[in-house]
Amino acid sequence: MSTAVAIVLMVAIVAYAVFAGADFGAGFWDLVAGGAGRGARPRAVIEHSIGPVWEANHVWLIFVFAVLWTSFSQAYASITLTLFVPLAIAALGIVLRGAGFAFRKSVQRVEYRRVFGAAFALSSVIVPYALGSIAGAIASGRVPAGGRAGDPVSSWVNPTSILGGVLAVAAVAYLAAAYLVWDARRLSDAAMAAYFRRRAVAAAAAVAVIAAVGVFVLRADAEYVFDGLTGRALPLVILSVACGIGALVLLVRDAARGGRLLAVGAVASIVAAWGVAQWPYLLPESLKVSAAAAPDATLITVLVVVGLAALVVLPGFVLLYVLDQRGLLPEESS
């Protein structure tokens, strides 16, 4: 039972990484698009590509919290006690970003748009970094079990956390660039498609370099997860690398389809690999998933809710997607 809930947790984390990740990444490209003049065109594409349910993507994160605090409450207490600072930064960043999002579309004056745009873009970088460093803290075993606090600083300022943060920022940038290429093409804007294609390739290269450095960092700093990644989780790691290379090849050759999907696959499988690598631990080497779990009735409730969510939320999601695609037919967009 606890295994099933752990899988649900992992799926939710992957979903958050993929859905919210692409949005965060779009914010990254917004940030580096340059001044108002030069950046206008890429920003138009970014604005246009921003997913329709956007801030609602945070529901995935909230769901991750809800599963953690119901099913693994002691571990949740340890995490929040130890990682107070990066979690607080992420929370505030999400407010800034959400506000930037909510208001930017609704105001007309250029100066205002610029202020909201800046809030939005900057926090798009800070939040993934904070969340990535949290993942690094957990992976490197710096969060103690039993609802106790670990070190308030070194738990998230350490090699693995920095790796996690930087990798998260690079990965979402890569993901978003792959999406943006596709969006620019849908807008038949060849110049912008090339613009984002160059950036996607650069981001992919950055991810590759960081990952290569990461191998050494993990071996020195997070042995358990390193062993997992090179052992049990190796197939997923290989899958991720393969997807990443495949996506890159498709991007470089300007292929019509597939690049976006492969990019998603690359990010999803590396996040999943992290989960598999630390199995059976929730907090590596101090707390096993099975030992951390809540009473069965609570776990069953979590699974029931997942079932209900599939029944209730999915149809709406599909309808929305269909409408979104239909709404973009050229003759409608005048």
């Binding site: 604005e47 801030e55 609602a56 529901v59 994160l61 909230i62 605090w69 409450s73 929040t80 609704s106």
Partner: protein, 474 residues
Amino acid sequence: MSTLAATLAAVDPVPWARGQMAFTLAFHIILVPLGVSWAFFTLIANYRALKHDDRDALLLAQRWSKYMAVTFAVGAVTGTVLSFEFGLLWPRFMGQWGEAFGIPFLFEGIFFFTEAIFITIYIFGWRRLRPWTHFWTGVPIVLAGIFGSASVVAANAWMNAPTGFTLDSSGTIVDVDPWRVIFNDAMPLQAAHMIIAAYIVGGFLVASVYATGMLRGRRDRYHRVGFIIAFSVAAAMTPVQLVVGDALARWVYDNQPAKFAAIELVPETASDVPETLLGRLNDDGTVSGGFAIPGLASWLSDPSSGRDTVVQGLDAFPADERPTTRQVNIVHLSWDVMVGLGTLLFLLSVWYGLVWAVRRRMPRSKWFLRAAAASGVLAVITMEAGWVVTEVGRQPWIVYGHMKVEDAATSNTGVWIMFVAVVLLYTALGVTTVLVLRGMSRRWRRGDCFTDDDAPYGPRAPAGRAPDEQEVAP
């Protein structure tokens, strides 16, 4: 420098955590009624538009759906912060009780996600769906809002009436009954009271905007229709709320006697207890000031035994199991504010109802419009006061009878920094929200053009148009 560091390290996190929780909740709860009830008003307008081919109603429905998207987006981020805060501020509470307390929030997730999706579909749908199909895509927003609030309030009610779990001898939860956690004893009344409050607050808030417009001379049909839809719903709910509130008070009398003693300002257990309006409790247990209505508190607590009903006083509880004197005074004052303003709003509704019954139109007098223009803010204050009664009245318990607040808080001494940051950020957020909503309304009044890509959750801007170019539009 090191003394400064030492002073900062010695800051007690508990009051800061309380303050932050209260502040962020009080902020979020203002957006909640709009998220819950505005969709309903929009659908009424939409229905009128379709049924009677009413252009004004159509315009209202379209605009309301845009405003709603802005307040929903702000509600979503402030709500996200709340879920961070449970862990950041109350890790020990969540560590011990999360297995039960957390359950309602799982359901909340489903409902809010549904709400977000259908708000998007509804805004998308104005030009892409057939009119009646489009109307029906709005209905899930209304339902999700109601069920979503019911889930959240279930969690709050559980803190008042914790049931549905078994503890072992060390106090760890060993078994959970999810059904009893959600449908705990306090839940039905509290959820009903809150959902009705959401319609009252949302209705008066929206109506007050149109009342202000009419006072400034914009007395066209558009403003009247906007006013009538929102105000009528809120007005119809006020009497229901008085009945539900009365039942809720009796529930508190039966189940949380210390809170009840604070509400009614009863220092000593007695029968024939007066209802004290205003007034304050002193540290020596005497009550000073205020107007006492003899016997009324006893009578209201249980009309069947009338003035003979015994009301437990604060002295019936050890000092560390009841609110402090200061908290009692806060609770009592908030109670007076809620009941007082609630009654005023009810009287305003009666006025409105009587004029309709006699003249078959809404009241037009300046005084009515002035009162109506104030009703939105008053309703918000009423609701905030009600929450203060609930939350401060529960002190010192976070989980009634099981865990005290000071045992629940984080040990992180840096909480005050986050608190300061949150206050600054939220102040900016609040001001900007109001400015943006006003800006939207001005723009529409000037241009009268309807585009559906200028709202959050709305469709993407048409291809190839840089955002800056939109400025040229009139």
